[in-house]
Symmetry: C2
Subunit: 241 residues, 2 copies
């Protein structure tokens, strides 16, 4: 079950294996995992090695450990943290998932309202990019993003190459950015959004309007993200902001 001397720690392999089982619903949400002893026997390792693995999973919110009772699989929803450092790829990786970002459409437009959010003049040229985020091949969000077209001339190309907003920013000299604010509403999706999210039109979505800015707080990116409502939980944590 585990491969020794591969450079990958045994506890990490076990953690990956369990995360995969949870994602595949072999351990469905709410169900109980085998006991530490049972897993230790199953993987042919010491109980402590299993403990290290499930400890990590608990840290990332995949499971919940209850002393004297057992370990249980948490809600299957993707937990999306909204804080100063909101990163899609990062969020997924912490939950043992692999993410994909694809550019669906892009254009240069003008829009007074969005320009205002970005602190630009009403006639400023805006770069519009519609992206689809996928986790484990399933669509998680469809987002419309707007940038200062003059400031980020190569953004779309960078985004398509790196499949990462952070990386595309980095190529334009922005090493770090923060979420300035997010505005969240629940609604029923438009037809095209429902299709892209592969969900029925009567299932609600979470719509998140957001403004990202540089470390000084100057706006960089205005975005409207739409998440499958029952597949995603937005987590606002006021402790470690």
């Amino acid at each position: 079950m585990v491969e020794r001397d591969t450079g990958v720690a045994v506890w990490r392999q076990i953690g990956e294996s369990l995360a995969e089982d949870i994602r595949a619903r072999r351990y469905p949400p709410g169900s109980q995992l085998p006991t530490e002893m049972a897993l230790a026997t199953q993987y042919a390792v010491n109980r402590h090695t299993v403990r290290r693995a499930i400890g990590e999973l608990a840290q990332h919110g995949l499971i919940r450990i209850e002393r004297g009772r057992g370990t249980f699989v948490e809600s299957g929803a993707l937990r999306y943290a909204i804080g100063k450092r909101t990163r899609f790829t990062e969020t997924l990786r912490q939950q043992g998932m692999q993410g994909q970002t694809t550019v669906i459409a892009s254009a240069v437009i003008t829009d007074a309202t969005i320009s205002r959010h970005l602190g630009l003049s009403r006639q400023a040229k805006l770069l519009f990019v519609r992206m689809c985020r996928q986790a484990e091949k399933h669509p998680v969000s469809v987002s419309d993003n707007y940038f200062d077209a003059r400031r980020f001339p190569e953004f779309v190309e960078a985004l398509q190459e790196t499949a990462s907003v952070s990386a595309a920013f980095a190529l334009h000299g922005i090493d770090d950015y923060i979420r300035i604010w997010s505005r969240i509403t629940a609604r029923l999706p438009e037809a095209d959004i429902a299709r892209l999210l592969e969900q029925p039109k009567v299932r609600p979505i979470l719509q998140v309007e957001a403004l990202n800015g540089d470390m000084a707080g100057a706006p960089l990116q205005y975005a409207i993200g739409r998440f499958a409502g029952d597949g995603v939980e937005l987590m606002v944590n006021n402790e470690d902001v």
Copy 2:
């Protein structure tokens, strides 16, 4: 139109009047307010008095002032800020609304999951309180709240008297509290919730699970709030947390 020498500043009266007009959709979302001069004439005051009034409204997000163009009504949704200091009554007051809190039901129960959130033993007695929050006579949210029944024996009575969670806490020696985390999902409402929110069952709601705690971060209150999805915007501001 305005009453002088009432102890309420004229600009505040005008602000209230305009806010009332906006709430009543006499100025619908997106529409343009009369010019400052027109409003000054209408209220028979100086233009600066009007400016003071609409300045406040803009501050609270009800309207948006664009230099050289005019003032415009923002989205009609109730903007509910989620941050360390999340207070229902406070939120409403800032938007020029009057809030009401009514207790629908209360009971003493036990629940393992909720006890865990509150850091209590699995068998701990929990005080359950279902509240309905109203703004301007319209229901805004239905929330199920859970407290340590031993620690807050008189909570329901205090809540019914003061109609304020903050005040009820204060009567139990908790002068201040903070929002520790919030978890947000979109979904369709249960039948009873839809009825209480006076909305159709096919209109989505925002469900906010939240944990409030004392200043040291120790849990005090676990709550599940349900908001009319298109009537409420949850605002997460990372600047002033």
